[in-house]
Amino acid sequence: MVQWTAEERAAIQGVFAKLDYESVGIESLTRCLVVYPWTQRYFGGFGNLYNAEAIMSNPKIAAHGIVVLQGLEKALKNMDNIKKTFTALSELHSEKLQVDPGNFQLLADCLTVVIARRMGTDFTPDIQAAWQKFISVVISALRRQYY
């Protein structure tokens, strides 16, 4: 089981408290599709993804960005049992969506960059370390059900 120090819990909760879920979710997913274009393969039915402007104004992508962040919020509320909380999500991503798990890290990195952009120097190295530990636990839980 993952051990969280009091400082780490406070840091992670602090990051979430400052997040505007909607806009952060949207911006992270759009950045992922722009910076790592091969991730677009999972969004074939989402309409126009031809260039950065199209991606950034695509309403289906926007809606999905919010879904992703709501998923992360679940992990936050169950920080001591992320593995179990994400069992169904992990099966969904492996069996149904068939997402290459390497891509989870790419989206996570974009999310970290978006948070850094918004928090500026408040996103200190210590807070970044706690946040990235949280994210790596989430990614590990998502990868768990893959055969």
Binding site: E27, V113, R117, T121, D126, Q128, Q132
Partner: protein, 141 residues
């Protein structure tokens, strides 16, 4: 593959980083050491505590090398040849670590550039850093 617009954007961004090379470089390194403690194993010969002279000096060197690379993107392999040999034969850093520093450089830029760190700028810099690291790792084997 960098477009001409991306190359110009990269030069612009790194030119603004040169006057604050020590701040940006040392912050990126500190972020890497804090988030990925295993990277500290390469620095046992330096004092890498926050704001130390060694950290600031080393951070400055890295940013200056990146700015130099940005101005010579079409000839990266030649421009970086000495650094490439240095990393391969002397430093012998495990190649996965380049990505960790690259990520922390992106986070540092995002913190300082705010709205100017657009998705297009983010993509361009990420591609540049990957190309730069590839040249540094070229002579590894």
């Amino acid at each position: 593959m960098l477009s001409n617009t991306e190359k110009e954007l990269i030069v612009q961004i790194w030119d603004t980083m040169i006057p604050v090379a020590e701040d940006i470089g040392s912050e990126a390194l500190l972020r890497m050491f804090t988030t990925f403690p295993k990277t500290k194993t390469y620095f046992s010969h330096l004092d890498i505590s926050p704001n130390s002279d060694h950290l600031r000096c080393h951070g400055k060197k890295i940013v200056q090398a990146l700015a130099e690379g940005a101005r010579n993107i079409s000839t990266l392999a030649t421009t970086l040849a000495p650094l490439s040999r240095f990393h391969a034969y002397l430093l012998r850093i495990h190649p996965t670590n380049f990505k960790l520093l690259n990520h922390c450089i992106l986070v540092t830029l995002a913190c300082h550039m705010g709205d100017n760190f657009t998705p297009v700028a983010h993509a361009a810099i990420d591609k540049f850093l990957s190309a730069f690291s590839a040249v540094l790792a070229e002579k590894f084997r």
